[in-house]
């Protein structure tokens, strides 16, 4: 979808074949368990389990690292802070807990198609129909948002160019106000088009 893709790695492992809902529930349970584990030995066991799960999934090292990469500096800082304020076992276990939770969630992302996860999350949001948001509108909202990302990114480029032409490159206001007004104009035109197609009938 216009360059926006998830991190899904195709495969046929047991983890790939599990339904998305089961994986999400499993993730919630294991993250709670991680929070309750306090001893370094137990966390080391959890780390071994996570490594084993990654091995079973067969997603590869590069994909695994890409999931954990965003927290690398945070992990280093946390380890340092804990080392100063507490001791080595505490530092190791709290850093491990953060990395493991992110790695586990990353594993679900890597082994589940974006469309399957989205369908599952949409079902979770189904009770929104009591607030007037039926399933059709909900999925329209999600797909319309995805479609709007490149449109707004285009708008950003145009506003930047206009800003350069006016010689006000440094003014945040001269950037953001036209951008937001442009986005609103686009949204309201889109709303009228949707209404014209009978969405409100």
């Amino acid at each position: 979808m216009s360059g926006l893709t998830g991190a899904y790695v195709p495969g046929g492992s047991l983890l790939h074949r599990l339904p998305a809902g089961a994986k999400l529930a499993g993730l919630a349970v294991s993250c709670t368990a991680l929070l309750l584990l306090r001893s370094p030995a137990a966390l080391a066991g959890a780390a071994a389990a996570v490594v084993l799960l990654y091995a079973v999934s067969g997603v590869g090292l590069a994909a695994a690292w890409a999931q954990v990469r965003p927290v690398r500096w945070f992990a280093v800082a946390l380890f340092g802070v804990q080392l100063v304020f507490a001791d080595l076992p505490t530092a190791a276990s709290s850093t491990l807990r953060v990395v493991l939770a992110v790695a586990l969630a990353g594993l679900v992302t890597l082994t589940t198609r974006t469309s399957a996860l989205m369908a599952c999350l949409e079902r979770c949001l189904a009770p929104a129909r009591f607030a007037g948001l039926d399933p059709f509108r909900l999925s329209l909202l999600l797909s319309l948002t995805l479609r709007s990302v490149p449109v707004i990114a285009d708008l950003v480029t145009r506003v930047r160019e206009a800003q350069r032409a006016r010689g006000v490159e440094r003014s945040p206001r001269a950037f953001a106000v036209p951008l937001v007004v442009g986005a609103l104009r686009h949204a309201d035109a889109l709303g009228e088009a949707l209404a014209a197609r009978g969405l409100d009938d």
């Binding site: 998830g6 999400l24 929070l35 990353g106 992302t109 509108r137 937001v180 007004v181 409100d200």
Partner: protein, 203 residues
């Protein structure tokens, strides 16, 4: 045969579907790498929280909360829509998950305060709304979750988060200036005005 009673007003008209999704997309775009370092190229600041505050100030309570839900669902599904191309379930189990979840009540509170300002919310009100919602609520949600995940005490976590406070305060002020400018240029960007128009137009 026509129904004598007027049909129940749709609680979620097409105009709102469009605004909510465009603002969710706007928040995503504001976090895209290299897209916008508006303070010259010196400070690589992510403007995503700016988008959250703007969504609150312009969409109002419910619509802005829904825009955040839509964005977070897409992120959870694995799309790289957060600042720096982050996405996937990892952000919801990571140390800054609370700050992310806090966007939801944060945008809603911003919207609530702005809605109380009627047809022409003043700059002071906008600043207060962005500070309370976009900074206060977000930190209130973010710090305890981070403390829980990392095992650090609340005080130490708050101290660590204080490093981001100056930038966030600046963004709150910028967001209110931008919201004020937008609402002057496009009166329909005021939640109260928009609601009145929807009522009058029957849409």
């Amino acid at each position: 045969m026509t129904d004598e009673q007027s049909p129940p007003r749709r609680r979620f008209p097409a105009a709102d579907v469009a605004r909510v999704s465009v603002f969710a997309a706007l928040i995503a775009v504001l976090g895209m790498p290299g897209a916008l370092n508006i303070f010259g190229d010196a400070v690589p600041i992510t403007l995503q929280t700016l988008g959250v505050m703007l969504a609150g100030a312009i969409l109002g309570t419910w619509r802005s909360a829904l825009a955040i839900v839509v964005l977070l669902v897409l992120v959870a599904a694995g799309l790289p829509l957060l600042a720096g191309g982050r996405g996937g379930l990892g952000v919801f189990t990571g140390p800054s998950a609370g700050f992310l979840i806090g966007w939801l009540p944060g945008a809603a509170l911003t919207g609530w305060i702005v809605e109380r300002g009627g047809r022409t919310p003043s700059t002071v009100r906008l600043v207060a709304a962005c500070l309370a919602g976009g900074v206060g609520v977000v930190y209130l949600c973010g710090i305890p979750v981070q403390a829980l995940v990392t095992g650090l005490s609340l005080g130490k976590t708050a101290l660590l988060s204080a490093a981001f406070l100056p930038g966030d305060l600046a963004k709150a002020v910028l967001a209110s200036i931008v919201a004020r400018g937008t609402q002057r240029a496009y009166p329909d960007a005021v939640p109260a005005v928009h609601r009145e128009r929807l009522r009058a137009g029957g849409r």
